[in-house]
Each structure stands twice: as C-alpha cells, then as structure tokens.
Symmetry: C2
C-alpha cells in the first residue's frame, strides 16, 4: 500500500465524526424535488453541495440551470495521464409522506444505534457524501490520483426529466473515461455488490370503454359487459399460471442467461425468506424455473401499476361505469425493445378484447435494458477495493429497476458506469424511516478511497 493511500485511510478513520456531521448538515435540507414549495430548499441544497466541492479544491464549480432543478458541475483535471472519472449523484430526495409514520423528524437526521435516520440519508445523500468524504480524505493525504468531473442533479426522484438534454447539450464538458454512480446498494452488509445490469421499461395506459355514459347498475346490469369486468378479464390473461407474460413474442428477444451468469446469480446470498420478509408478502410469486434474483434481475415482467373505474369513495354507489383504466408497465431485459413490446400489447388486446368493448392504449416513455461491461477498468478497480475492505469477492447483481442515466451515459457519452453504493435492502428507500447503516457507510468511504487509488 502506498504511503498516500495509508494516510488517506488514516485520515478517514480519524474524521468519521466530521464526515457524519457533514452528512447530517446535508440531510437536514428538505430537498424534495417533486414539491414546488421546496424550490428554495432545492437551491439551498445545490449551493451546499457546490460549496462542499469548492472546499475539496474542485474548480469550475457551477450551479447550472436546466428546465427544472439545477445541476451542479465541477472538475479537477490535474492528474496528467490518468483517467477522468465522472461522478454522478443526485441531491434531491423523495417526499416524506406519510409523515405520521416517521419515528424521527425526516429532516432532523438522528442516530439510533448503528443507524442514521432521515429522508435521503441512504438515497442518496449518504452515497454522495461517502464519495466527497473519500475525496476529502485523499486530498488531505496529497494530490488526487485521478481526474474528476461531477454531475450532481436535482431531479432523479422525479424521473430526471432535464438530464438527457443536459447531457446532450454538454457532451464535451462531461467527456470522461468512466462514470462512478453510487446510486445502487449492497445486497447485505457483508456482501459488497456491483450492479451490472438494469432492466428497461415500457409503460402504458390502457382504457376500456363500455357504454357511452355511466349507467345505473340496476337498470343495465345483466345486459352490458361492465368495462371494469372486461378490463379485469384482460388483465387476468396477461400472465399464465406460472407468472409468464402472455404477450405474443414477449420472450423472443430475451437474452438467455449464460451458465456463468447463472452461477453469479446462484452465488447471491439473499434467500427466498429474505425477499419475502423484506417485501412484506405472504409468499413469493413468479416463474418457478428462475430464482427470485433472476426473476427481478434478468427476466422481463408485466405489472399493473394502477387501476381506476367507477365509484371509489366511501360507501356505495350503484354505477355501471362507462370506462375502466389500468396503468401497465413492463420491465425489460436485453435485448427487448420497448417499441416492440408496445406492438405486442396491442396485438394481445386485438386478439383478446371482446367485441362488447372498445379500448385505447397510450404509450409513455420507454427505455431498453442496459448491461455494464465487467471488463472495464472501473469495475476492476471497485472489485479490488471491495476485496480489500470486505475481504470477499464482491457480488455481481442485475437490478430490477431502471436507472436511465446509466444508458444515457452509454449512448450519449460512450462511457460505462461503475454502479455501486453502500445502502442496504432494509434502508426504507422512498418510505418512512429511511436510514443508513453507519458501519457499512464508513467501510464504503474506505472502499471509495481504494477505488480512486486503484484506477
């Protein structure tokens, strides 16, 4: 180990209180991006992050406007001949509702036992601060061993509506060799994890129309095909008994898992019981020939995200509704195409919708799945860092969700992302009582110190 790396690690272990206090400061700022009332808080939070970057000696720190909340940019390009890492993060957080279920103030970061509680402490202010603290430790030990650029956005929790255009408009500014994206997490505190696959998304709204106006269920019940019932009948046959999606051709382009990938999945330590209790369900569900990790990581899905029809208030109203609506989305895996899935759903509806009703299908923004190249130097650097700190080979995971910025970086900037992070599955992301496991977070800071030196 070099002396500088040793010094940086020592600095980190001696300044944990400072690191934690910095995170508490940031997490106390209510940067809820979806809420207009927090617009000023968003600006204060962006300013806080920008100042922190300046404090690390980062230059050209700039709070750059977008159509929505601003992006913080910064760079340090003094490591001649070394790679440039684009650090991605977001400073916005989810709303706090239902506020009454919080045991501590969501913006009063509070330590209880080994955890810090507060909105955003795990997703992802804690991850941003793990990175900045690692860099703080390194700068106190000498010069930075790599070049850095920062892209910290304020709209991740509302779907990053401005990010694609921002990246497209600033391709030269953002030019880098790889991206560090610590917005993923560990599968367990003893299981360092690299997320290398993300599912894509195709999102639809299906509306089924029956009579041309709401009817009295007494007068018309028995002679009209109720559109809520017709919608249910269509939804019910979108999966077979084994949880397989029945859209025609849905699996035609699904890339078959290799034996090596099956082995990586089989190595994942999460048990069915872990999944069951984390999700709070009675029993797991889905394609029996795949493990839960494979089903969420490497298999496509079709989900009902919303249902609406007729009367939904308290008590009773005897309406036979004129229409019924379902929000339906598919998670996609390589090499599925969102537009092809749209066509498949239309074909399914054309084949199965009864003549008693009329249907309309709207398509929202979709994105294909992405897979990170595991042979890139960034992945090797984080693998070695995890092995040093945790003492085990990290786990390779495909995540069920979609992180559009990963494919945007691939497509627009031509760079791969190192997707990792130090949150845990029980961190209550997007829910009340979000928390961060501090011993894991400190290990994460050490891991990132190694990562930057390993590059």
């Amino acid at each position: 180990m070099t002396d500088q790396r040793r010094l940086a690690l020592d600095y980190a272990s001696q300044h944990r209180v400072d690191f934690l206090n910095a995170l508490k400061e940031l997490a106390a700022l209510p940067s809820v991006s979806t809420d207009e009332e927090h617009k000023a808080d968003m600006q204060r939070t962006a300013a806080w992050v920008a100042n922190r970057l300046k404090g690390l000696g980062i230059s050209n720190v700039n709070i750059m406007p977008t159509g929505g909340h601003p992006v913080i940019y910064g760079e340090w390009l003094g490591a001649v001949g070394k790679p440039t890492v684009l650090v991605y993060g977001h400073y916005d957080v989810q709303p706090v509702d239902p506020i009454e279920l919080w045991k501590t103030g969501p913006f009063t970061p509070t330590e209880i036992g080994e955890n810090l509680y507060g909105r955003g402490v795990s997703d992802m202010k804690g991850q941003v601060m793990a990175t900045l603290n690692a860099l703080d430790a390194i700068t106190h030990s000498g010069a930075l061993p790599v070049n850095l650029k920062f892209l910290i956005e304020g709209e991740e929790e509302i779907g990053s509506p401005s990010l694609g255009k921002f990246i497209a408009d600033h391709k030269d500014l953002l030019k880098a060799d790889l991206c560090l994206n610590p917005d993923a997490g560990l599968i367990g505190k003893e299981y360092p994890t690299i997320t290398y696959g993300l599912r894509g998304l195709a999102y639809f709204e299906l509306r089924v129309y029956g009579p041309d106006h709401d009817l009295h269920s007494g007068l018309a019940g028995g002679i009209v095909h109720n559109p809520a019932q017709a919608l249910a009948e269509l939804i019910a046959i979108m999966h077979d008994q084994n949880g397989r999606v029945m859209l025609p051709g849905f699996y035609d382009r699904v890339r078959v898992l290799s034996a090596a990938e099956h082995e990586d999945f089989a190595r994942l330590p999460t048990t069915d019981e872990d999944y069951r209790s984390d999700l709070g369900v009675r029993e797991l569900w889905g394609e029996p020939e795949f493990t839960p990790a494979e089903r969420t990581g490497a298999r496509p899905t079709l989900e009902i995200n919303g249902l609406l029809s007729g009367y939904t208030g308290k008590g009773q109203k005897t309406v036979l509704p004129a229409w019924a609506m379902a929000k339906i989305s598919c998670r996609l895996v390589p090499d599925q195409d969102p537009n092809a899935v749209y066509t498949q759903l239309k074909q399914f509806l054309t084949a199965h919708a009864p003549k008693t009703i009329r249907w309309e299908l709207d398509k929202f923004a979709g994105a294909p799945a992405s897979i990170t190249d595991l042979e890139q130097p960034g992945v090797k650097a984080i693998v070695a860092a995890f092995e040093t700190v945790w003492g085990v080979k990290p786990y390779f995971k495909r995540e069920g969700g979609s992180i559009p910025v990963v494919s945007q970086m691939q497509v627009m900037l031509g760079i791969e992302s190192v997707l990792t992070g130090f949150g845990l599955p029980d961190d209550n992301l997007h829910a009340p009582n979000e928390k961060l496991h501090l011993p894991t977070w400190y290990r994460g800071i050490d891991t990132l110190i190694h990562f930057f030196f390993n590059l």
Copy 2:
C-alpha cells in the same frame, strides 16, 4: 263515463298551460339533496309542495322533520267507504354535474319541441305534478272519489336514509289501502307500463392486500403477486363465459319464471337494438338463454361498480401497489337473500383467492327483491286507466333497479304499491339534459284522473 270524470278530463285538457307552469315553478327550485349548500333550497321546495297540497284542499299538511331532509305529509279523508291511497313521491333531485354538458340551465326549465328540459322534470317532479294536477282537475269537477294521504320525501336520490324510520314511527298516520308510486316510467311512449318487480341489492367492498407497503415495480416486479393483478384474476372468474355468476349457490333460491311471466316479458316491445342504442354499447352482453328484459328484470347480477389501486394520475409511476379495491354489487331477484349472497361471496373468495394475497370483504346495506301482487284493486284501476287513455293493454315489467320504499311499504305498512309513471327511457335521468316528453305527460295526467275514479 260519469259527468264528474268528464268534467275533470275537460278541466285537465283546458289547463295544460297552468299545469306546465306549476311544474316549471317546482323544477326551478334546485333541491339537490346530496349537497349541503342546497339545504335552504330543500326547505323552500318542501314549502312549495306543502302549499300546493293545501291549495288542493288537503288537510293536516305538515312538513315533518327527519334526521335529514323533511317529509311532507297531508291527508284528505272525506270519501266515506272508499279506499285510501297513499301517494308516494320525492321532491329532491340528482346533482347537475357535469354542468358543462347541459344545453339549458338545469334549473331554468325550458321547452324545446315536445320536451321540457331541466333537472328533476322527469325524476320525479314531473310525476309528482302529474298526480297533483290530476287531483286539481278532479277537485274542480266535484269531490275527490277516494281518500288520500301524501308522503313526499326529500332524500330519495341519496338512498332514502331517513325513510325507513319515518315509516316505522308513523305506521298509524300512514295507514292506507294501497300506495300510488309514480317513480317508475314507460318503456316507450306508446307502451303504458306497470312495474311489478324490483330487484334487490347486496353491495360489497373487496380489498386485496399484497406487500405490506407500496413497492418499486422494478425492484419487486417478478417475485410479488401484484394485488391489482390478483384482484383482476378474482373478478375475471366471478362470471363464466355466458355471463353467469359463479358464486357458489348464487342461483339456488332464484325463483324460476313461470310460462305466463315469460309471455309478459316476450310481449315487451323493446328490441335488442333499442337496448343497445339506449345504453350506448357496441353489443349487448349476458346470459344468452334470457332476453334483455328478463336479464335486467328477473335475473340476478354481479357488477363491478368501482376499481382502485396504485397510481391513477396522469403519466407514469412505477409502483407495485400494496393493495387493490373493488366495489362489487349484486342485483337480487326473488327469493334471494342479501345475507346469503354475502356468505356466497366469502365462500368464493376463500375457495379462489391465492395464498400470495390477503383479502377483506365489507358488506353495505342490502335489500331483497320485491314483487307486486297483480291482482290488487290498485293495479286493476291503473290497467283500466291506461287502456282508456292509450287504447292498449299496459305492459308488465320487472325493473332492474331497487326502490326500497316499495318493500318498506309491503313489510311495514302491509300495502302493495302501484308502481308506474310517465317518464321515457331517453329522459336522461341522473344525467345532463334531463327532459320530460310533454304529450306523454298530459296523457299521464288523464290516466291518473281515470285511476282515481276507477278505484
């Protein structure tokens, strides 16, 4: 024809303008019972009706308080040895939403061609005024030929929550030989109609619970049985391919139609195409071995009145919802029991709900179906009246809806109702542009004059 009857009919034909103006006055009062803001309008409307009764020489006219909107009572008991008719009506109307679809002001009664447009002109201020105008004509021709009592409520459009208790508390006051209830209608303007059967109701709310909190559809999609999907799967098997309800034992107590009843149904002039275009559906639906009139009148149903789950706003949210809800109601026919249907639905859910989810079923107020005795003198009097005015034998219809007051009168007062009225199927009840066909209404006034003399 007696001279007095002739005089009354002449009076009616000479005073149509006055009759119409009286209806316009009443229909201009916005007596929307569901809306707190119209509470004063409700009182003004009750006062208007009470004054009208007094103008007819009715005594003991009284606006009687209930827990909700008041009931108007009145009586005239001067026809010694003659039967007593309890006239039922309601002075409240439906809300006017969506107001933007009205072509005339809902409370500015407006004649266009042969129709009068306005909220309540058909349901049922027009029917109340047909009755009061008929009595007005009779009183101008001599003494009333029958004894009369009036029960005009203000809560029919909100489910008559106070009526049951009112009747129970005033059994002696309301004692009568029969009830005239003109709150039904004609099946077509050339088809005078007597409604002799009403379906009952059993209303439920079913909630299906999956994970204990909303999940991210990317992270959990593929391993969790989505409760919206599970609810759809349950709803889809509540009917078979032929529209038959699959609750265990649902049809066990359904009274089989007699040959005579089949004949009455077969005589009804409404064609499938009439139903299809009135309802605004592409095709009719339901049990193929029964006619549409039988399916709505004499067969029980199960309808989805509402669906709610997950995200239902604009655009997309990738939630895997924690729960899904359906409002479900059954229309019942003799001799089904609402409580038995509740048990049947619970049995169905116990048998078919998968182990991946949990369910809860709430029961709302239910009512059994009712059938009127066609041999009663009241029915014979209205049959003869229709034959005189229309020149055809009236049609006997079972109605799909529920009018609880009919069974309340049967059970609490021991009297049968003559259920008729002069509205038409295209009167837009409960919808924008409610209207009343005036030539039919004038015939209705004549019919009621005959009815009172026929008793």
